[in-house]
Amino acid sequence: MPGIEDLYREIILDHYRTPRNRGELQPPAISSEGHNPLCGDDIRIYLDVADGVVRDVKFSGQGCSISQSSTSMMTVAIKGKTVVEVGAFVRRFKHMMTLADNDEPVDESINLGDIEALQGVVKFPVRIKCATLGWNTLLEALTEASK
């Protein structure tokens, strides 16, 4: 059995206890909702995109330490990035989570920073869905924003 400390790293617990960018954005910011059908968790991502740049991002909803901290760290990482950069960043993250789509190139040189701490989740396969919930919801919000 892999050790629990691989999962609950200090930085993860820190973002869980004190989530960053929690809250809502009013329209014209767009939002998307994601559900984890296994556990009933849900997350909403609010995105303010202008001129191809993520100006602001917030999230609301309920979830476990992994989904909440992963989403919190994600919001910190993507704020200020261009939509293109965010796309590459998400692919890099999903690659680390062993979920990359083979058709899409992954730029291994992208530094995930604190988010690397989520690598331990891979040893607990049922929790990968928790770690990626916010990210998949972000992708939906980005699609919505590009409409």
């Binding site: 629990i4 609950y8 979830g63 476990c64 330490s65 607990f124």
Partner: protein
């Protein structure tokens, strides 16, 4: 921990379950997820293995001795199941894939034949998705109306307006025991109320048949559904019991082999019960395994199992509330007589997923999530809960291990 019969000893029964005998990293397995699915005793494993080694053959189809013997073992298991729930005849026992399929069978066969736009089906707020979604599917197709019996603040069905709710209802379909709250419903009373209102009564008995003596005739139900895998039998097998005259009047559900007496280019004639509802090759070894499971449960004694679970409920409720006080919220009745030994809870604000992950470090297996009852979860105001459920093989040591493991979870968060 024994009930009226002092011969009942969960610690001894536990030894019959090989999964529970193993140690993981030097610590015993504390299996508290039997409301989800139960472990299997040696007699079930051995009976199925022996059947597959020595007797496996098609049933109902071939004249040779091997097949005739397999058919006899298969039908004798059906007899055991009929006896176990006191059915009038083994013709009233229909084997399905699981309880979910049994409920879908009822909605699609009885429902389609008897319900039209505007007809009302009464359900309750504590149903499993298996007793909600098939009705909602028929609602989308037919425009039937769904009504709901609400809950009281102490997690019982609120029956104060039952008569009004039942007026004009064609079907009252409800769970005998909540798989989330542990609440045991007054099945006989509900069946009688349904009949008084001119409705039929369907009982989702998934959570009660494994745990307490079931007499379908005494319940007064029209249909009862349950799953083999929750009652020490194999997965892949469910049971529908129905009153013979109702089953006979219903159209078939799935079509194919075994369910016909004749097929011509211009149509078909159905087989007699229960084959009419058993299209295709059934789970043969699984049915034989369920036969062994009900013999095993009868041997232990269903009344003793119920007594044991009442005693376990008292112990668990006492233990968790004295040890954790306001730090734990148990979503379910406090009276052990009114509940099964299934406990959904919230603990110190720790998300159930995280909780079950940490408990796993102590080999304590609990389920975290919405337990396939999302409408109920919303009503009790939780997105998810952790759920510990006890069965005939669980002892007070399992409850103690749960409490110790809960303490260690607080250290992390």
């Amino acid at each position: 921990m024994a009930g009226a019969n002092t011969a009942f000893d969960a610690a001894v029964i536990r030894r019959d379950f090989p999964v529970l005998a193993q140690q993981i990293e030097g610590k015993p397995l504390v299996y508290l997820d039997s409301a989800n699915t139960s472990q299997k005793p040696n007699i079930v494993i051995d009976t199925m293995a022996k059947f597959m080694r020595e007797s496996y053959a098609p049933i109902n189809r071939s004249a040779y001795t091997l097949a005739a013997n397999a058919t006899e073992l298969f039908e004798s298991a059906r007899n055991s199941v009929a006896k176990f729930i006191n059915a009038n005849s083994s013709q009233e026992i229909v084997f399905t894939k699981n309880a979910t399929e049994a409920l879908n069978l009822l909605v699609n066969s009885w429902g389609r034949a008897n319900l039209k736009t505007g007809d009302v089906v009464l359900l309750t707020h504590m149903e499993h998705h298996a007793n909600i979604v098939p009705w909602q599917m028929l609602q989308q197709e037919r425009g039937i109306e769904l009504r709901w019996v609400p809950l009281t603040s102490d997690y019982q069905l609120d029956l104060t307006s039952l008569e009004t709710l039942l007026s004009g209802v064609k079907v009252f379909s409800f769970t005998s025991m909540s798989n989330v709250l542990g609440t045991i419903n007054p099945v006989e009373k509900l069946c009688a109320a349904a009949h008084a209102a001119g409705a039929i009564a369907i009982v989702d008995a998934c959570q009660s048949v494994p745990h307490t003596h079931t007499d379908v005739r005494a319940l007064g139900a029209d249909f009862v559904t349950f799953s083999s895998h929750k009652m020490c039998g194999p997965s892949g097998l469910g049971v529908l019991w129905g009153r013979k005259e109702l089953l006979e009047a219903m159209p078939p559900f799935l079509g194919g082999g075994n369910m016909i007496s004749d097929v011509r280019l211009d149509g078909f004639t159905c087989a007699e019960l229960p084959a009419k509802f058993e299209a295709g090759t059934p789970p043969i070894a699984e049915v034989v395994g369920l036969g062994a499971a009900v013999e095993f449960l009868s041997g232990v004694g269903m009344a003793d199992i119920r007594q044991h679970e009442i005693a376990m409920s008292s112990y668990v409720l006492d233990l968790l509330t004295t040890r954790f006080g306001d730090d734990i919220t148990i979503h379910g009745p406090r009276n052990p007589e009114l509940r099964g030994a299934t406990f959904s809870f919230a603990f110190r604000g720790i998300h159930p997923h995280d909780l079950s992950q940490v408990l796993d470090q102590s080999n304590v297996c609990v389920r975290a999530g919405h337990h396939c009852a999302k409408p109920l979860m919303k009503i009790i105001g939780a997105n998810a809960t952790a759920r510990a459920s006890f069965y005939l093989y669980n002892t007070t040591a399992d409850a103690d291990a749960l409490a110790d493991a809960l303490d260690s979870a607080s250290d992390i968060f």
